[in-house]
């Protein structure tokens, strides 16, 4: 990481191309608005850059680009919630299907050379000692970043192995443990002291107060590990059936026990309530444990549940059914106290909750009964704070409250990940773990040692061809359902082979490329407008300027004598390069604009 020149000062790269670095809000605003996948990624992964590297066959480089934002690319390439794909410009109306970004991430990991060398530039040792509590995704990401920054890090983990939800919550058929082991090892190999089997807090050898004395800073990333109780009516009101009925279990403890290699069984007909990845995982594990019939009951509908379409499809291929618009209100037991079924009430869809989830509204008098003999409850998790031995301020959801600098109400005690936010996704936890690490570093060192700038580089010619727009999404090959049900560990997704991987990488629009027309040199021949496949080049009267100074809405001219400029609408542009190729006076320029993290000079 080299020192940065003053913003907008052009320097010449070794290849002779002009490069500039900028923190101008207009440039920052352009990147945020125009690279929707990166903006949607909680870890801000530079997606167009790594997909371009894959297209050029540089899988190792693609892996490293990923690793700059997300220290577990091979893991996330398998289990990410894929917010990026929901935002992908290729999936916008009229553009087809989104790029299979997550599958490409995995391919970069799978297809890199077996002798691939990880490159990380380390800061000099600082002599600062930091304790991190919880070796889940947030804790591991923070430990990695803090060790890169030169701090001595000790990572405490209550379980016998690191990984948190990755190891104890996610089944091996989605996330093979050898992949997890390698990437965890790589993340922690820069001198992180890992202390497994060591709880922290009350009644342990390591009360938080002691950590605060012994270390310069403490980061709590203990995750969100307590299952939410299922609210029921009637005789089950305020009672948790998992406490008394052997056939009712909470999903997370069920999965955790299984992944601690404890013996778990289910009976013939399994009902799962819940709509997240944990619910799907419970159902798919139940199918592998021999259940004959597995049904997931959800409150809204398939379209609105926060899991990927691919996961739903694969679950269905394993014979799992999803039934919507129902809320459990009670359970029925036989004379021996064994489960006979669940009582539900019919729902209708309501408005939208905060965070983009649909509301379900129970319909009075619509109760019905569904027989089953095992019930797994996977409706969410919450944080646990009763182990804390220091008084920490909590918010209304009983999560730890942190300030803008990531610190709790206790000086030197920071918190990050699901422990602060409540249950989210792995990639969000990693993003927040990294953010927590940066905040601790800034607090300990009294300055921000790395900052984000926009790197602007001239690109000589379009990197895409129009024909790439007609390549269909390459689907992930998967194991045959009959075979996968015989094993709890056989990985379902087999990975994209090299050729389909490269085809898929060509589909990326490379939204980090910015096409601009030099209005002073344009002769208004309209050739670019004629060849444009979309309404992406516009004759405009004026352009609105956003609060950050970046260009906003285009005011299109309806008459020739009102044309003020010819403008490329980067929102509509699919970076096909047709305009660039046809321009007779070469007044269209291309730059690659992307975020980079650089050292403060």
């Amino acid at each position: 990481m080299s020192a940065v020149p003053a913003p907008r000062d052009l320097i010449v790269s070794p290849t002779g191309e002009a490069v500039a670095y900028s923190d101008d809000p207009r440039d920052v605003g352009w990147v945020v608005k125009n690279i929707p996948c990166q903006s949607a990624c909680p870890a801000a992964t530079n997606i167009p850059a790594y997909i371009r590297a894959i297209a050029e066959g540089r899988h190792g480089d693609a892996y490293e680009i990923n690793r700059q934002a997300n220290v577990l690319p091979g893991v996330l390439g398998r289990i990410c919630s894929r917010q990026c794909e929901k935002a992908c410009r290729h999936g916008w109306p009229g553009n087809g299907e989104p790029v299979a970004i997550c599958n490409l991430k995995r391919s970069a990991s799978d297809l890199k050379n077996s002798g691939h060398r990880i490159t990380e530039e380390l800061f000099a040792p600082t002599g600062k000692r930091i304790a991190i509590v919880g070796a889940g995704p947030a804790g591991v990401a923070a430990a990695h970043d803090l060790s890169v920054l030169g701090h001595d890090v000790t990572l405490f983990e209550r379980e016998s192995q690191p990984g948190g939800m990755l190891r104890y919550g996610i089944p091996a058929f989605r996330l093979p443990r050898d992949i997890l082991e390698i990437e965890l090892h790589n993340a922690l190999r820069l001198g992180v002291e890992l202390r497994v089997g060591e709880g922290v807090g009350k009644n342990t050898s390591f009360p938080v107060a002691r950590l605060l004395r012994d270390y310069d800073a403490v980061l709590m990333s203990a995750g969100c590990m307590a299952p939410l109780p299922l609210p029921l009516n009637g005789e089950w009101k305020n009672r948790d059936p998992a406490d008394t009925c052997p056939d009712v279990e909470h999903g997370l403890p069920f999965l955790m026990a299984l992944h601690r290699d404890e013996k778990k069984t289910v009976r013939r007909r399994v009902a799962v309530v819940g709509a997240g990845f944990s619910a799907l995982d419970c159902a798919r594990v139940a199918a592998r444990l021999g259940a004959q019939e597995v049904v997931i009951h959800i409150r809204t509908a398939e379209e609105y549940i926060p899991v990927t379409k691919e996961e739903i499809f694969e679950a269905k291929r394993e014979g799992i059914r999803i039934r919507g618009l129902r809320t459990p209100v009670g359970i029925e037991l036989d004379a021996d106290g064994r489960l006979t079924g669940v009582r539900f009430v019919q729902n209708r869809l309501g408005g939208w909750r905060e965070g983009g989830r649909r509301l379900a509204i129970p319909i009075p008098g619509s109760e019905f009964f569904e027989p089953c003999d095992t019930l797994l409850i996977a409706i969410g998790q919450k944080t646990v704070n009763d182990f804390l031995d220091v008084p920490v301020e909590l918010d209304r959801w009983q999560n730890v409250r942190i300030g803008e600098n990531g610190m709790t109400s206790v000086r030197g005690l920071f918190a990050a990940g699901d422990y602060v936010t409540g249950p989210t996704t792995v990639i969000e936890a990693i993003g927040r773990g990294r953010q927590g690490a940066a905040q601790i570093d800034a607090w300990l060192m009294g300055e921000t040692r790395r900052r984000r700038l926009v790197r602007i580089e001239s690109v000589a010619e379009p990197l895409r061809e129009r024909a790439f727009d007609f390549i269909g999404r390459q689907e992930m090959p998967t194991a045959v359902p009959n075979e996968r049900l015989r094993s709890r560990t056989l990985e379902v997704d087999l990975g994209l082979p090299a050729q389909p991987c490269q085809e898929e990488s060509k589909r990326c629009y490379l939204c980090n490329l910015k096409y601009q027309i030099d209005v002073d040199r344009c002769i208004y021949c309209r050739a670019c407008i004629e060849v444009a496949p979309r309404a992406c080049i516009k004759l405009v009267e004026s352009v609105d300027i956003e609060a950050d100074g970046s260009c906003g809405k285009l005011r299109e001219a309806k008459e020739w004598n009102k044309v003020g400029a010819i403008w490329i609408d980067n929102n509509e542009c699919i970076r096909c390069g047709a305009c660039f190729k046809v321009c007779p006076v070469k007044c269209i320029s291309i730059t690659r604009n992307e975020f980079v993290e650089v050292d403060q000079p």
């Binding site: 109306p93 009229g94 509908a301 379209e303 269905k316 394993e318 919507g324 209708r348 619509s366 359902p481």
Partner: protein, 346 residues
Amino acid sequence: MNAPRHHVVVGSGVAGNQAAETLRSRDPESRVTMITVSKLPFFNRYDLPRVFRGERDWRKFIIYPAEYYLDNRISLRRATQVVSVDSARRTLFLAHNETLHFDTLLVASGASPYMPAELVEYRPQMHGFGSFRDAIAAADALPKDGHVILLGGDTIGLDLGRTLLDIGCRVTVVIEKHTFWPHEVSADERPRYIQALTDMGFEVVDAAARGQIAAVRAGEPGLAARRVLFRDGSEIHGDIVMPFFGVAPALDFMLGSGVDIERGLLVQPNLRTTNDAIYAAGDVCQIWSDADKRYRFYYGWKNVRAMGELAAHNVTGADEPWVPTQDEGLQLTADGRIHSPFWEYA
């Protein structure tokens, strides 16, 4: 003077055509556009078993001649696929990158044959029955007096099975939970209906007794062209295998449109979706039933036609609730045969 309203109907089956006809009569000044992914105009799907009796001329299946659409000023756009709908901007996106504005949208895209996800990968080994082209391909692959295996055995499949038995084919029905779909047959009654299948001449194989269907593969050399494998390791052989697991609403293009969907488009009893400008009719919609306190589907051409008519009425200013028009019960005739009211077409 206001521009005439543009009514767009997606789908050209029973519901869509009835809707278009009603829209034309109730709003004579309007533009009516009907979009269908099918190359054929409205044809009689209930007659498709005739293909196995040797009827191959598609014109014999067509219900309305081209002049009908001209005379009624219904712009019929065949072989046109809608890929998405922006309900806020009232715009349809078509697969060839055209956009189409609508004032009202009536979704009557029907349903397509449902395939359980665990069998999707074996689709290339099966013969469908969802279109005229599928029916021709299946009939071509079936040797004279050949052996047909019907997986599932919904009422569409059993209707075809009656024809196949009649022309001398051997027909095996692999029964499972979709058998008799969409009729709901109680566990007590089910053995009687299964026995009736046997009495009608069907051979019956119980998938549950064999651990469910595991795969469909090409036959070994010298044996029948297809084989169905079960999880207990057993298998049966036939010349063609046809899946009949009921139907699933054809509404992929409505995902993300902002209109509420569960399995079908969720509509109120007046067939209006959660968007005031969008209505639905036919197999694609799940209608709120006050009596049953749930959203439910209604099948059968009489129901579907009535839905098309009602939706068009309500699009053009009425606000009437849906009332089912067709008996839904599976019947056993005096001579011990199964009869479905959905087989009655006029």
